[in-house]
Structure formats: structure tokens, C-alpha cells
């Protein structure tokens, strides 16, 4: 009979070193997020003021013949809200070093992003509104287009951080890059909610 020695888990005596430059990506992401929030705030501010001026002059805001259906904007909102939940899943998985779930979750966030862009393109096609038709249309395109660019930037950020995680740079001990990407993603989703209310709901 062979003697089997069972070793209990030996607690680490030395704490693992912290990342060399902690929090930099997260701080940078927060600052960039503040910048894009102000960009959209500026555009929406001009949009709301121009709309109020047009309505006060007795005209209708949307050009005649233009309709904004609610189904697509609502679906887009639901898509992005789901993406937030999935991003939380990604972070939670990463904090447990569950890499398979992290990759699946980050991939799904990107898929949701593509779905959002695709739905926006479809919505704009059925709105049947040329950018050169009226100043209102021009303004609506400016707001929606800028937000789409922000979502595109957020997707690129998630992709890069996902690839870095794949390369082993981020793990349970150092999650900063994914946190930064998640923060920027949440901000882009929050900004859509403002666009959704200002443009699609109030029309």
C-alpha cells in the first residue's frame, strides 16, 4: 500500500505584486468618457434648443413625410441594455479567471454592438429623410451619426481589450483594461438613452 501524503493548501506569504501602473487605463477611460458625454450634451443641447425655437414659431419639427417608428428605437434600447448585462457578466467572469466565459461575454457585447448599428441603419432607411432636405434632418443625422461613431469607438475598445485578455494581459488580478472598456461601453449606452428620449420619443 502506498502512503499518500495530502498537503493542505499553503497560504501565500507574500501578496502578489500590484500592476505596475494601476488605474491609468481606467482614469483615462473616465476622462475620455467625460469628453464624449460633453460632446453629446453639446449636440443634444443645440438639438433641443433648435427644436424648441421651431415649435415656438408655429411649425412642426419633423419635415413633412418623415415618420419615426418606435419599434426599432425601442429594440435598439433593449439590445444595448442587454449588452450592459453581458458586460457585467464579462467582468464577473474575468474576476474569477473564467476566461472562456469572459471571451464569450465580450464577443456577445460586440455582437450586440453590430446589431445596434444594423438596426440604426435600417431605422434611418425607413425614416426616408434626406440629410439635405431640411435643417432638422441635418441636425438629427448629426446627433445619430455622432452617437454611432461613439458606439463604434467603444466596440473597438472592447475588441482591443478582449484581444489583450486573450493574450493573457488581463486576468483576475489585473482587470483594469476590461474595466476601462466596460466604463466607456456603459457611457455609450447611457448616451443612447438620452438620444432615444430626445429624438425618438419626443420626436
Amino acid at each position: 500500500m502506498t502512503d499518500i501524503t495530502v498537503y493542505e493548501a499553503i497560504p501565500a506569504r507574500v501578496k502578489a505584486p500590484e500592476p505596475a501602473r494601476p488605474r491609468l487605463l481606467l482614469i483615462g477611460s473616465a476622462l475620455a468618457s467625460a469628453g464624449v458625454i460633453m460632446l453629446m450634451a453639446g449636440l443634444l443641447g443645440i438639438y433641443i434648443k433648435t427644436r424648441a425655437d421651431v415649435i415656438a414659431s408655429g411649425e412642426t419639427w419633423l419635415p413633412s413625410g418623415t415618420t419615426i417608428p418606435l419599434t426599432q428605437p425601442n429594440m435598439m434600447a433593449i439590445t444595448l441594455i442587454f449588452s450592459v448585462v453581458i458586460m457585467v457578466w464579462a467582468i464577473s467572469s474575468l474576476s474569477r479567471d473564467d476566461r472562456a466565459n469572459t471571451y464569450i461575454a465580450l464577443g456577445l457585447v460586440l455582437l450586440m454592438g453590430f446589431a445596434f448599428i444594423s438596426q440604426t441603419a435600417y431605422l434611418l432607411s425607413i425614416m426616408d429623410m434626406g440629410a439635405a432636405d431640411s435643417p432638422q434632418a441635418n441636425l438629427i443625422y448629426a446627433v445619430i451619426g455622432t452617437h454611432l461613431a461613439i458606439v463604434g469607438a467603444a466596440m473597438a475598445y472592447v475588441l482591443v481589450m478582449g484581444l489583450r485578455t486573450l493574450g493573457g494581459e488581463y486576468n483576475a488580478r489585473d482587470r483594469e483594461g476590461v474595466y476601462g472598456a466596460a466604463l466607456f461601453w456603459y457611457v455609450s449606452v447611457g448616451l443612447y438613452m438620452a438620444v432615444w428620449f430626445a429624438i425618438y420619443i419626443t420626436k
Binding site: 501602473r21 453639446g42 439635405a132 443625422y141
Partner: protein
């Protein structure tokens, strides 16, 4: 922290394998560098060049405007507007702000004890993006683009180039702010951050929160032009108003935020007595940034229109702007009074930049008199037969000229103060004095001439004033002399720097030492900046240096009194 330490023996195998690699050329070192010192030098060099170009264009436009009633240099008024607008774009977005960012990119990582700037490749990308965008902007103007341009494609190019410049400046500001917030040395809490680094943090954050609104305006302007909503040149002159928002008081005070921080550090070093009330100074600079940020937002909402008293917040911003400047000067007055001040270029430039900022802030208050009287008329129902009639005049341009002068002086002072750290050679002090006196005198003359012109009814540039009694013409010519002097001051600085880089002027010996961390390393610092990561226990870490050990360890002197000791 061991400041001087023998390097460990190098692994010979590694050394031989490294030496087998081809050495980086100068071009590689510049184009491919993520070193904050190289990037900082690039920002400072090209930014100073564009300050010269911007002031030269302002000089030409002013010469044309001074010759009232006729166009002597340009064929038509549109050309004058184009040139005036180009000079204004370049002075702010290609000159003053980039040089300030350059000083921050170089000095801030050293001051906070960091081995590099946050996101070094991002910082390099920001510079090169700005550089290309600035060249494209100039090209757009040359091809008859710009706000009053005749060729639509190039007007579109102008909006794209200006937007890209703003994005790259914002990118650089993110790198600077992140360095201060996240890459500080151990023990350096935010309240122990040197005034310069703190002021650049405030400058960057307020820029990050206000410049995106300018970007929003540019997005809309681009689409308006692209889709034919501004079809004629006359329609497109509204685009000039987009830049008014940041160029006129009170929003332009934003440029003054880092000037205060640099002045505090410089006065502390050259008086031999670091500022005593360090935390209070940081708080005051923070308030100034907050006021400037609020003013930026309100100015964007106001979109270049003259201040009106019914916008109470804008009035409050103008009134408040003078207080932090006054308080900062008062708080550093203690260093001057109790220290042994050396009257050299950095000290004089720091003092005069603060004073010019004070004059500008106080001068802006004069613009509130008319709206205030209008407000009293409305409230009381009585007619008041008194008005300065400053709306649409050169008055606010005068305030802007004073702020520009303060920024130029701050830059001259800052470059002289850190020249040895940046290029390894100090600048020639007598030449520095000349540049400071020329710039200070020029800015004061230029600003006051425009303010007085405003009271006499001189139209805002680029509009030509009809002047029946020649009083405005005299004031205009005095203003031209002022711009020429300011330009001469910047040229002298450029000459001084070029001479020092070539080894012709200045000295290789370290001219002075401060108590902040940038003075704990070589001039210029080697890669990585510090031999060991510094540990900080007060706002003046080098004053705590134990001479026997060469290690920064001392009692905690984070309180104001301790900081002074």
C-alpha cells in the same frame, strides 16, 4: 530615494546582443518616440513657431485695419477676414495651447515622480495628429477655405482640420490629466502635487469638459456646409462666431489656468522660498479653473454674442475671474516678501504674466457696465443717459490680447525656468529680459489700445471702422506697435532657445534648483527619469532630502507651515 547610484554590472551577453542591433537614428528617435521628453520638445518647438506665425498674421491684419477706410494690402474684405481668422486659429489651437501642452508633457511626469507620461504612444499620436491637422488647416485657408472661404470643399476641409486639431489636443490633455491622477510617486497625494502639475490637471479637465462642445459645433458646421445650408460666403461668416466662443472673455481665461501654476512654482524657486500656503494655492487655482470652465460652457451657449446682464451666470463668471488671480498673487507675495528674490527672467516673467492676467480679468469687468445699467433701467423704469456702447467693438478683443500676452509671458517664463531641464542648457538671461520686456510691453500696448479703441467705437476686427476724427486710427497704429513688440518678444525667445540648443548661449551648469521632484534628476533626464521610484512625504520633497543618505525621507510636512519650512 537614492539619487545617485552606481548602475549594476551589465550582462555582457546582453550588451553584445544589443550592440548588434542598428542604432536608432535621429529620425527614428523623433518620429517613433513615445518618450514624453521628445514629445514635449516637439510640442514646444512647433507650438512656438505657430505662435510666431499667428502673431505675424495678426500684425498684417492689424496693419490693414489701422489704415482706415481703404484696403491697402488685400484685394477684398473676405481675404482680410480669412487672414485674420487664420491668425486667430493658429494663435490659440496651434500656438498657445500646444506650447502649454508641451511644457506639461515634459514637466508634469517629472514633477509627479513618474517614469513616463501616461499612454506614451497616445501622447505621441496626439502630437502627430495635431501636427498633420494644423498643416491641413493652413492648406485649407491657402486654397480659399476657412470660415469666409469661397471654395466649399476647402471650407469642409477647414472644419475637419480644426475638429481634428481639437480632438488631438483633447487626447494630449487626457494623457496629462491621467499622469497627474494615476502616475504620481508613492506618498504624493493630490494636495502635495506641485502647483504647475495641479494647474495643468485643472486646465486639462476643464478643457476636456468644454472643448467637446466646440467639437459639436464643428460637426454641425461641417454638415451645414456639406448639405448646402450655408450656400454663400456671407452665410458662412457665421462660422467665425464658432471660434469667438473660446477667444473672447470670459472663456479665454481658461488659457490662464496653467499660467498661474507655473508662476507659483517659478516664484517659489527664484525667491528661494516655496509658496507657504500650498493647499490654499491649489484650491484657488482649482476655483479659477472652475470659473473658466463655467464661463466656457456659458460662452458656448451664448455662441459668441456679447455678454448680456440677463445671463446672470456669465456675469458672475466675469466678476469671479478676477478673485482667484488676485488671491494667487497675494499668496505667492509671501515668498517674495520673505525670500531672497533673484531678479531673473523666469521670476519677472512669472510676475508680469500674473499681473497681465489680473489686468485682463479686471478689464473684462468694464464690459459689464452697459448691461448693468440696462438692468437698472429695466428694474427702475427710469432712463439712464449713459452708455459705453461696447457691443460689437474691439473691447473684448483687447481683453483677449491681454490674456494672450499673459500666456506668452507665462510661456517665456516657463521655458526659461525649465530650459536646463529640457535642453541641458540654461538660456541667456539678458536676452530673456529683453524678450520679457518686449512681450509684456507689447501685450499691454496691444490690449489697452484695443480696449480704448472699443470705448472710441472701433469695430471688432476684422470689420473696418469708419473714423471721421482720426482718433481711432491713432489708437489702431499704437495697437500695431504692441503686436510687433509682442512678436519680437517671442522671436527673441526662439532665438535664445535655438542658441542654447546649438550651444552658443546660456550655460551647461545647472542655474537653480527647486524643491519639487523634477530637480532630483539629471538635466535632461535619462530614459525612465528616475534611478529609483521616488517616495514623497510633503509638497516640497527635495527640501526634505536627508543630505547624509541622499534619500527623500523626512518628517511629514504636508501642512502649509511645514511646506514652507
Amino acid at each position: 530615494m537614492a539619487l545617485t547610484e552606481t548602475r549594476p554590472d551589465t550582462d555582457e551577453t546582453l550588451t553584445s546582443s544589443l550592440s548588434a542591433n542598428p542604432a536608432a537614428t535621429t529620425v527614428d528617435g523623433i518620429l517613433g518616440s513615445g518618450d514624453h521628453k521628445t514629445i514635449g520638445r516637439l510640442w514646444i518647438g512647433f507650438g512656438t513657431f505657430f505662435i510666431v506665425v499667428g502673431l505675424a498674421l495678426a500684425l498684417v491684419a492689424s496693419l490693414e485695419l489701422a489704415d482706415l477706410g481703404a484696403l491697402a494690402i488685400f484685394d477684398d474684405a473676405d481675404q482680410l477676414t480669412q487672414l485674420w481668422s487664420l491668425g486667430r486659429d493658429l494663435l490659440l489651437f496651434a500656438g498657445l495651447v500646444p506650447v502649454l501642452i508641451g511644457i506639461a508633457t515634459y514637466v508634469v511626469p517629472l514633477q509627479v515622480g513618474s517614469s513616463s507620461i501616461a499612454f506614451p504612444r497616445g501622447a505621441a499620436a496626439a502630437f502627430w495628429t495635431w501636427f498633420v491637422a494644423t498643416d491641413v488647416l493652413v492648406l485649407a485657408y491657402i486654397m480659399n477655405g476657412g470660415p469666409a472661404g469661397g471654395r466649399l470643399d476647402y471650407v469642409l476641409l477647414w472644419t475637419l482640420a480644426l475638429g481634428t486639431m481639437v480632438v488631438s489636443l483633447l487626447w494630449a490633455m487626457i494623457c496629462i490629466a491621467t499622469t497627474v491622477l494615476g502616475a504620481r510617486a508613492a506618498g504624493m497625494s493630490l494636495e502635495r502635487v506641485p502647483a504647475t502639475s495641479w494647474s495643468f490637471l485643472v486646465f486639462s479637465v476643464s478643457g476636456l469638459l468644454s472643448l467637446p462642445i466646440l467639437l459639436a459645433e464643428l460637426v454641425l458646421a461641417h454638415l451645414d456646409v456639406k448639405y448646402g445650408f450655408l450656400p454663400t460666403k456671407a452665410d458662412r461668416t457665421v462660422l467665425v462666431a464658432i471660434l469667438d466662443t473660446l477667444n473672447l472673455a470670459p472663456a479665454v481665461f481658461w488659457v490662464g489656468v496653467p499660467i498661474l501654476g507655473m508662476a507659483v512654482d517659478s516664484i517659489g524657486v527664484h525667491s528661494g522660498r516655496p509658496a507657504r500656503f500650498h493647499k490654499s494655492i491649489l484650491a484657488v487655482i482649482g476655483v479659477y479653473g472652475f470659473v473658466a470652465y463655467g464661463a466656457d460652457l456659458l460662452s458656448f451657449a451664448w455662441r459668441g454674442r456679447p455678454v448680456a446682464f440677463d445671463n446672470g451666470l456669465l456675469v458672475v463668471a466675469i466678476l469671479l475671474a478676477v478673485v482667484p488671480v488676485l488671491l494667487t498673487l497675494g499668496l505667492v507675495g509671501d515668498s517674495l516678501a520673505k525670500g531672497k528674490a533673484k531678479l531673473n527672467t523666469p521670476l519677472i516673467a512669472a510676475l508680469l504674466s500674473g499681473l497681465l492676467l489680473l489686468v485682463a480679468s479686471a478689464g473684462a469687468i468694464l464690459g459689464l457696465v452697459d448691461p448693468f445699467l440696462g438692468f437698472i433701467e429695466t428694474v427702475s423704469g427710469n432712463t439712464i443717459d449713459f452708455s459705453f456702447d461696447l457691443v460689437g467693438t474691439s473691447f473684448y478683443e483687447g481683453v483677449r490680447a491681454l490674456v494672450v500676452g499673459a500666456a506668452v509671458l507665462g510661456i517665456i517664463g516657463g521655458v526659461h525656468h525649465w530650459a536646463h531641464k529640457i535642453w541641458g542648457r540654461s538660456l541667456e538671461d539678458r536676452l530673456g529680459w529683453l524678450s520679457v520686456l518686449a512681450a509684456a510691453g507689447g501685450a499691454l500696448i496691444w490690449g489697452v489700445a484695443l480696449i480704448v479703441g472699443g470705448f472710441l467705437g472701433q469695430q471688432r476686427p476684422p470689420f473696418v471702422t469708419i473714423d471721421p476724427d482720426n482718433s481711432i486710427e491713432i489708437v489702431s497704429w499704437i495697437g500695431v506697435v504692441g503686436i510687433a513688440l509682442l512678436l519680437a518678444g517671442v522671436l527673441l525667445l526662439l532665438l535664445n532657445v535655438l542658441g542654447a540648443v546649438a550651444g552658443r548661449v546660456g550655460s551647461a551648469a545647472e542655474p537653480w534648483r527647486g524643491t519639487t521632484l523634477e530637480w532630483a534628476t539629471a538635466s535632461p533626464p535619462a530614459a525612465g527619469n528616475f534611478v529609483e521610484a521616488p517616495i514623497v512625504r510633503s509638497a516640497t520633497p527635495l527640501a526634505d532630502l536627508d543630505p547624509s543618505s541622499g534619500v527623500v525621507t523626512s518628517n511629514d510636512t504636508s501642512d502649509d507651515e511645514g511646506a514652507a519650512s
